[in-house]
């Protein structure tokens, strides 16, 4: 595997303190065990020999002109993740990488990709130049394994140059040997012990017999060496799941008008249709990504009610979506910031394409309401947001508030209720409106365990002309011990207004039973 690890050091965008003169070295510091430790340095400070982990006192002794500010570790990590996601333009496989002081870089898997950018040197130069354009000073290295690239980016002096460090294939061992022992991803205590024994470089470690090493320090040093040399498999957790289908449109010059954006989109969607057809897939979730030239990423997702692959459908939905205020604002901001240089259409979720749907397009075919619904749900979701067109889903629960819920129309599915199931209106009529939570009422009943003959709800008095019930709904005794048994009554006022009230608890219980109103009937 050829991998490279750009290590972002001091990101200007995050610097909270003033960087008085651009020419002065700069570092961010964290407090650790009572001491101020360098958390990150810019290239100037790094060139002067300062490195993360050094104490601030040492650093200032060596470089009195050093400017420093406290580090915001969480914000830096978040910014780094955003930056890593943006780097998807070079490789789809990206993993965050840990340094001794937390997240401090990321690894791109560049296997078989470098030729797209004019070779490894071209790729690295392009990457560094674009990052510099964003105001990010980064160190980068490309090597045979992720661990070697990690070491190269952090400890090879060449990584500081604008072209980055490139370790030619097969030379990892030789390059690694020159680096200090910290270049291997080892626990701090092992590094410290090794150094006490005089093992200060990787070369010195390589010379030690493996068996001795393992007996003295455990398996870690051997494993770290193997990982760096590519002799052992490495764990790689991509931050972005692999996508089966994607289309990328690189613009020669930044795209700066809506017309250009839509033209590019149409082109990409047509290509997407071809790809989906080749794989016999339909898209269920489509991500439209607009990479801004200034490094930001505008993204929006289109949820499809069923797997689709027609460019015309995608195009209609995309236009609908991009016209919404949020998307229009994001696109406008992108245009103001210099435009977009890459548009990516990415199928985030796919499913086998159902050939039956193709027939739906034929005007003579009878329309299945469910299909018509799916098409409508898609249109509504595209403008209003994901899963906003909803359907009702029933659950085999007796408590009315649990018995039916709303879900995205695609998930709601056809009716699955069998006659006599809780929601069957022929068996147990339910009110048209159900209050989100039952509201307490003051009720007066003729008999303690009978229906009320009048009640007050929301300060209005209702007389009961007739009542039916009770319908006794008991809570699930295994899970809901706090709930009381409910006796529901359907009651009607002399005017014909229908309510659904219940008494929680039994007469003679302590605490006394209470009356609630739960629904209003048509």
């Amino acid at each position: 595997m050829r991998a490279r690890a750009p290590l972002s050091t001091a990101d200007n965008a995050l610097d909270p303190g003033p960087k008085s003169a651009a020419e002065r070295p700069f570092a961010v510091v964290v407090a650790q065990a009572g001491a101020q430790i360098l958390h990150g340095t810019d290239l100037l400070a790094a060139a002067a020999g300062l490195y993360p982990g050094m104490s601030l006192a040492d650093a200032r002794a060596r470089l009195p002109s050093l400017v420093f500010a406290p580090a915001d570790v969480a914000a830096e990590a978040a910014a780094l993740r955003r930056l890593a996601a943006w780097c998807e333009r070079w490789s789809p496989r990206i993993a965050m990488s840990q340094g001794p002081r937390g997240l401090d870089g990321f690894v791109l898997d560049a296997t078989n990709l470098a030729h797209l950018f004019g070779g490894e040197a071209g790729l690295l130069t392009d990457l560094l130049a674009r990052l510099r354009g964003l105001g990010v000073e980064a160190r980068a290295a490309i090597a045979d394994s992720a661990a070697a690239a990690w070491a190269g980016a952090r400890f090879d002096v060449a990584a500081l140059s604008p072209t980055g460090a490139i370790w030619p294939a097969g030379e990892t061992g030789r390059q690694l040997a020159q680096l200090p022992i910290e270049a291997l991803d080892l626990p701090a205590n092992i590094v410290a012990e090794l150094k006490i024994l005089g093992v200060k470089t990787v070369r010195a470690l390589q010379r030690l017999p493996r068996a001795e090493l393992a007996r003295r320090f455990g398996p870690e040093p051997g494993q770290a060496l193997d990982a760096a040399l590519g002799a052992a498999p490495e764990g790689f957790e991509p931050i972005i799941a692999p996508h089966p289908v994607r289309v990328r449109l690189r613009a020669e010059a930044p795209v700066i008008s809506d017309a250009q954006i839509f033209a590019a989109l149409e082109k990409g969607l047509a290509r997407l249709q071809v790809r989906l057809t080749q794989k016999d897939l339909g898209a269920r979730l489509l991500s439209l990504r607009f990479y801004r030239t200034d490094g930001a990423l505008a993204e929006t997702m289109l949820r499809l009610a069923r797997p689709e692959r027609e460019a015309a459908i995608f195009s209609r939905l995309a236009r609908e979506r991009l016209a919404t205020p949020d998307c229009a604002a994001a696109l406008g901001a992108g245009v103001d910031a210099g435009g977009f240089d890459l548009i990516e259409l990415l199928v985030a979720e796919s499913a086998p394409f159902d050939a039956r749907q193709a027939a739906f397009a034929a005007p003579s075919a009878p329309i299945d309401p469910r299909d018509a619904g799916a098409a409508l749900a898609q249109t509504l979701d595209a403008r209003l947001g994901m899963d906003r067109a909803q359907g009702v889903v029933f659950f085999p629960e007796w408590l009315p508030e649990e018995a039916s819920k709303r879900a995205g129309f695609a998930q709601s599915g056809p009716a699955t209720l069998s006659p006599g199931a809780p929601g069957d209106p022929l068996l147990r009529p339910r009110p048209l409106f159900l209050l989100a939570a039952p509201e307490p009422i003051e009720a007066m009943a003729e008999a303690p365990d009978g229906p009320p003959w009048q009640f007050r709800w929301r300060r209005r008095l209702h007389r009961v002309a007739r009542a039916e019930g009770p319908e006794r709904l008991a809570p699930n005794w295994r899970t809901e011990t706090a709930q009381r048994t409910r006796d529901y009554y359907r009651v009607e006022t002399p005017e014909g207004r229908r309510f659904w009230v219940f008494r929680a608890g039994f007469y003679g219980d302590s605490p006394a039973p209470r009356w609630y109103l739960h629904g209003i009937g048509a």
């Binding site: 299945d368 309401p369 022929l426 409106f433 039916e468 048509a522």
Partner: protein
């Protein structure tokens, strides 16, 4: 006119001609913009299950109609919304397809949310119903999308837009006419009038049919009864008469029963009018 110098008279005539042409264009535009009248042809009838009701309602309550239902009083809100859903259930039975319910974001009314099980009484099982919540413009847009979608029987709009603009209403009406889907506009007790509605119905709850309490159980709620009065009928004089109708959830039909007439309550319009007038003045 004759006193004017020749050139001046020509100018005036030309100006008049231009004005006439402009007026003619405007008239043509209005004619083109006009919405087709409702057709109560046999294939566009919803059929209510009772010949007397068919006679009373078919003129306005047919495919492609915009029907506004409005509660006679605040406490009749659920009844009025239920009646709108019953109309939708009827449309679905007559024409097949889906019903779209568009609710105001954050809950249409203050009497809770629509219950999936309760809606089944109106023939709207989960396969037949889509519910969308949206606010303002977006809600009206969702209604229009629903009316234009193929395979939709109708749209029920719940508590939408306190202030309505006329062109949006006409767009909705045109969409309904073109597709044949009905738009049941269930307004709140104090909402603005849906100006171009083909029919406006004032709905109140009515006591259940079984007059004899010994005849229980009658499944209260499964067979809702309403007292309905048409207060507006487009292009015809409305039948100013309270109709007592009952919904049969098994056959998805309305039943009309004159014997149900309940004389103990004041007529509907007496209670409905003040609130409408108040709104118009405001």
């Amino acid at each position: 006119m004759s006193a004017l110098p020749g050139a001046h008279a020509d100018l005036l005539a030309a100006a008049k001609g231009a004005r006439k042409a402009r007026a003619r264009r405007a008239l043509a535009a209005i004619a083109a913009d006009a919405i087709a009248p409702l057709s109560a042809a046999a294939d566009r009838r919803l059929g209510f299950g009772d010949p007397r009701l068919d006679e009373a309602w078919s003129q306005a309550l047919c495919a492609g109609a915009v029907i506004e239902t409005r509660p006679a009083a605040y406490d009749d809100l659920a009844a009025s919304v239920g009646f709108a859903f019953a109309l939708a259930g009827r449309a679905r039975k007559a024409r097949g397809g889906l019903i779209l319910a568009v609710e105001r974001q954050g809950g249409a009314f203050d009497i809770g949310g629509l219950d999936g099980a309760g809606l089944r009484s109106f023939g709207l099982d989960p396969a037949a119903l889509m519910i969308v919540r949206a606010r303002g413009e977006e809600a009206l847009w969702a209604c229009a999308q629903g009316l234009r979608a193929p395979g939709l029987a109708g749209v029920v709009a719940l508590g939408l837009a306190e202030q309505l603009d006329l062109s949006a209403m006409r767009r909705l009406q045109r969409a309904a006419r073109e597709s044949g889907a009905i738009l049941a506009w269930a307004a709140g007790p104090r909402a603005a009038l849906f100006a171009p509605a083909d029919a406006r119905l004032c709905v109140a709850a009515a006591p259940c049919r079984a007059a004899d309490p010994a005849a229980l159980p009658v499944l209260l709620g499964a067979r809702p009864s309403w007292r309905v009065r048409m207060t507006r009928l487009r292009a015809a004089a409305p039948v100013f008469e309270d109709l007592l109708v009952e919904w049969d959830h098994e056959t998805l039909c309305f039943r009309l029963d004159a014997a149900l007439a309940d004389r103990s309550r004041p007529p509907l319009d007496a209670r409905a009018r003040p609130s409408l007038h108040r709104r118009q003045r405001a």
